[in-house]
């Protein structure tokens, strides 16, 4: 019996020691890619949840790789620190900016940086938010760096949230979506009055802090929106 056990143990030891001799000799995903989406009109392109991405295709892996995307942060920066080292085709997409068609080939390694310059469809200028009692009044004007050929302007709306992460898909519906203003016009057909917008949001909750921004949505392939910067509003307690 003892012999048998020791033989089984011996067998198990031989199996265990001979297993797992191969080593994974591929590098882990230790490369990174980061940068800014710079607006041609100055500063970074202001984005929101899911609005702009950097699309990567690792051509050093396959001739027809499945694309992967790095979402842009709200301030127009992007970063992915878990990429595999290699050669990638990269391009910003998702709007709301004049589409780029030429992909860039980048060797991504540790700490690779690249800034993309894009031309936004619409700029939101002179954005002010003033509180009058419990009513919040938003005023802003729209400008287009390039007017000709601009996709139809669908609508404009405020985004109000109780955190700094405010934008499409991150807003309080009762203060945001329901104050949407339909436009549905070509840029050339918009009057100056159409381009300067005033939105009143009544019944803001007293004693709360809100973060407010506005957006203009265009009928491009992504139905993407250009956003304003974010203003912090403290509604005084009664």
């Amino acid at each position: 019996m003892k012999k048998l056990i020791s033989r089984i143990l011996l067998g198990a030891t031989i199996l265990a020691s001979s297993a797992c001799t191969k080593i994974d000799n591929y590098d882990g995903p230790n490369a990174s890619f980061e940068g800014n989406l710079i607006s041609s009109e100055g500063g970074n392109l202001l984005t929101s949840q899911g609005s702009s991405q950097i699309r990567l295709e690792q051509i050093s892996w396959s001739a027809t790789p499945s694309p992967q995307e790095i979402p842009s942060k709200f301030d127009g920066t992007f970063k992915d620190s878990k990429l595999f080292k290699g050669t990638y085709k990269v391009i910003p997409k998702g709007g709301a900016f004049w589409p780029l068609y030429d992909t860039l080939t980048v060797d991504i390694n540790k700490g690779t940086k690249h800034d993309f310059t894009v031309t936004p469809y619409i700029l939101i200028k002179n954005f002010t938010a003033t509180l009058n009692g419990k009513t919040l009044t938003l005023k802003y004007t729209m400008e287009a760096p390039i007017g000709a050929g601009l996709p139809t302007i669908i609508e404009t709306q405020p985004y109000v949230n109780n955190t700094k992460l405010v934008g499409a898909g991150a807003s309080i519906r009762d203060f945001s979506d329901i104050y949407k203003k339909a436009i549905n016009k070509q840029w050339a057909d918009m009057t100056d009055a159409d381009k300067s917008v005033t939105i009143d949001i009544p019944d803001m909750l007293p004693g709360r802090k809100f973060f407010v921004r506005v957006g203009v949505r265009l009928n491009d392939s992504f139905k993407s929106s250009n956003f304003s910067d974010i203003i912090e509003i403290d509604v005084p307690a009664n």
Binding site: A63, T64, S66, K93, P99, D177, S221, F222, K223
Partner: protein, 605 residues
């Protein structure tokens, strides 16, 4: 001597063995069916056809747009339908969850059809040339059906018409995508062959020549709309510039003409079901009577073959069934396709009704046969929909609905046992938000419901009424739409009025494209057409732009002993948003991995 004898015996045995052993083993294998067995008799062909028919991309009761076509014995979740992402209904989908499809890729079935088309002519001696021709026509129809299922999802796909040899070089097996236009043209040609070669009639559940013409009218209408509207509203990308997703706009009229001509072929051979003088009951019967002259191509189900569906048990509340689970409910938005319901007075206050059922007065029979309203009856029980009780009610409906829920003066309840001064607060049939099984909109589906079934038999996997995949009303609507797109308003008006007369609606005196589309929405509600209609008209991203839908909530006003109806957001509070890229589904990732020639993928994937 003895040993010699033994020797002789031994030698003769070996010689005998040697002589007889040299037979070549050339007998047909007994454990597999050879083409001769299958294609040598009509029964064999029929069994082969059965598989092809069963897997057809028919979006029936059991079809789950996020998972695929279901043929099993327990695919009972029939409320996961495409109606419940398009605003016809609201239901279990959390939003526009079906935009990228389920990776439909039926080239295994297409291979079966290709085998059929290659084998049949070899067996003309046994099957007879006439039979072979009719069967070949059927095969072309079936192949077109599969390609239609592909084209409406992906646009251009590889057209494979030969049985591929698995041993062939990879370069032959990795077939390129064909252009979208070529794919639709192929479908049209296949259906022409089907129409020319098939017989006038066929057994129930199989296609005849008119089914080919009917499907052609549908497919060519899709192609025409995609050419016309897809060239105005599209997502840019390589697949589009190379013609895999998108058809040139100047091709639209050619397709509309083909759709119109194909629909015309059915004239005189099929007619709308009008056997019952009671217009409501007639419209109900149309979906339940298999002898209807309106049915062109149906899909059958049976409990014995383990294929029954669960429509009755998943569309009506448990109160009226033996064991039910409902989850998708018609919206007020759908009901108002028929025009606004008269539930408010001119001053904006809600109309007072003595009885819930009074809301149905004066409504179009087709509407009453499509949707169960509060006050309707099923299997001897009343749809007693009631959202809650107002002890008193004053003011306008709009002002009341706009109030935050906590400042409304209504009384709600989580169950039917809770009473307010001796009166039930909610109805046995809802609306209620605590569970899934009661309406969230104030309505239930009536189309296809078999009211004659006793309650005890209405259970999951126990419904056998056939799915009317192609019915003449749809062909008339295809014809009217194609006619209108071609500028033939006269024919469109005549045809639409045929449908409206049967429905019990007032005939139109003039017609436009919006009326035709609305008629289609009413006539074909819940029949899984609307999702594709919105897509081919390229208006899904407008109709489903963060869309929220409404229900009609019945309340009892206690001090007045009256009922009121308030149009309120449906109680799931769903939000539906259609991304433009969904106009084409992505080519399935697994297939792209196997065949790089399927690139470019559709735009934005």
């Amino acid at each position: 001597m003895k040993s010699i004898n033994k020797l002789i015996i031994a030698i003769s045995i070996s010689v005998g063995a040697l002589v007889t052993s040299c037979q070549k083993l050339d007998i047909p294998p007994t454990n597999i069916f050879t083409p001769d067995i299958i294609f040598g008799s009509e029964a064999g062909v029929k069994s082969f056809l059965a598989t092809i028919y069963r897997n057809l991309p028919i979006e029936d009761f059991k079809y789950r747009p996020d998972q695929g076509f279901k043929t099993g014995g327990n695919d009972w979740e029939n409320f996961f339908n495409s109606a419940s992402v398009t605003g016809e209904e609201v239901g279990p989908f959390g939003g526009m969850d079906i935009g990228t499809g389920f990776g439909y890729w039926p080239y295994d079935n297409i291979r079966n059809v290709n085998i059929l088309i290659e084998e049949l002519p070899k067996h003309a001696d046994k099957l007879g040339q006439t039979n072979v021709n009719a069967l070949l026509g059927e095969a072309h129809f079936l192949r077109a059906y599969y390609y239609f299922g592909l084209a409406k999802r992906y646009g251009g796909v590889p057209i494979v018409t030969k049985v591929q040899d698995p041993g062939a070089p990879l370069s032959e097996l990795q077939v390129h995508r064909d252009k979208e236009e070529a794919t639709w043209d192929f479908i049209g040609t296949e259906l022409d062959l089907g129409y020319q070669m098939m017989n006038e009639t066929n057994e129930l559940g199989r296609a005849n020549k008119y089914a080919a013409a009917a499907l052609k009218s549908r497919a060519m209408l899709y192609a025409g709309s995609i050419a016309k509207y897809g060239s105005a509203n599209f997502v840019d990308g390589q697949a589009r510039t190379e013609g895999f997703a998108g058809i040139p706009a100047d091709k639209a009229n050619g397709y509309f003409t083909k759709a119109y001509d194909a629909a015309k072929l059915l004239e005189g051979h099929y007619s709308l079901y009008e056997k019952n003088a009671d217009k409501v009951q007639n419209y109900v019967d149309l979906f339940l009577k298999s002898e209807s002259p309106e049915n062109i191509f149906v899909k059958q189900y049976s409990i014995i073959s383990n294929t029954a569906h669960s429509w009755d048990a998943t569309m009506s509340p448990r109160y009226m069934t033996a064991n039910a689970l409902t989850r998708s409910y018609p919206t007020l938005d759908l009901v108002q396709r028929w025009g606004a319901l008269s539930v408010t007075n001119s001053d904006g206050t809600p109309k007072r009704f003595n009885d819930r059922a009074d809301i149905m007065q004066g409504l179009e029979p087709r509407l009453l046969a499509t949707v169960y309203f509060p006050g309707a009856t099923l299997r001897g029980l009343t749809f007693d929909m009631q959202r809650g009780i107002y002890p008193t009610f004053s003011g306008t409906a709009a002002a009341e609905v706009a109030k935050p829920a906590n400042s409304r003066s209504y009384i709600l309840s989580g169950d039917t046992k809770t009473l307010y001064q001796g009166r039930m607060i909610i109805g046995f049939t809802g609306p209620w938000t605590g569970g899934d099984e009661l309406t969230r909109t104030g309505f239930y589906v009536r189309k296809y419901i078999d009211a004659a079934k006793p309650i005890s038999t209405v259970d999951l996997n126990r419904s056998e009424q056939p799915w009317l995949e192609l019915r003449y009303a749809e062909i008339l609507l295809n014809r009217a739409e194609a006619a209108m797109e071609l500028g033939n308003a006269g024919d469109a008006l005549t045809v639409i009025n045929l449908i409206r007369n049967r429905a019990g609606a007032t005939p139109y005196t003039s017609i436009d494209i919006d009326k035709i589309r609305n008629e289609r929405g009413m006539e074909l509600a819940f029949e899984n057409h609307y999702y594709w209609d919105l897509k081919r008209w390229r208006i899904s991203d407008v109709v489903l732009n963060n869309a929220r839908f409404k229900g009609l909530m019945p309340y009892y006003v206690f001090n007045e002993n009256k009922y009121i109806f308030l149009a309120e957001p449906e109680l799931f509070q769903r939000n539906y948003n259609f991304d433009k890229k969904f106009y084409y589904e992505p080519i399935p990732g697994g297939e792209l991995g196997k065949n790089p020639n399927l690139y470019p993928n559709n735009p934005n994937y």
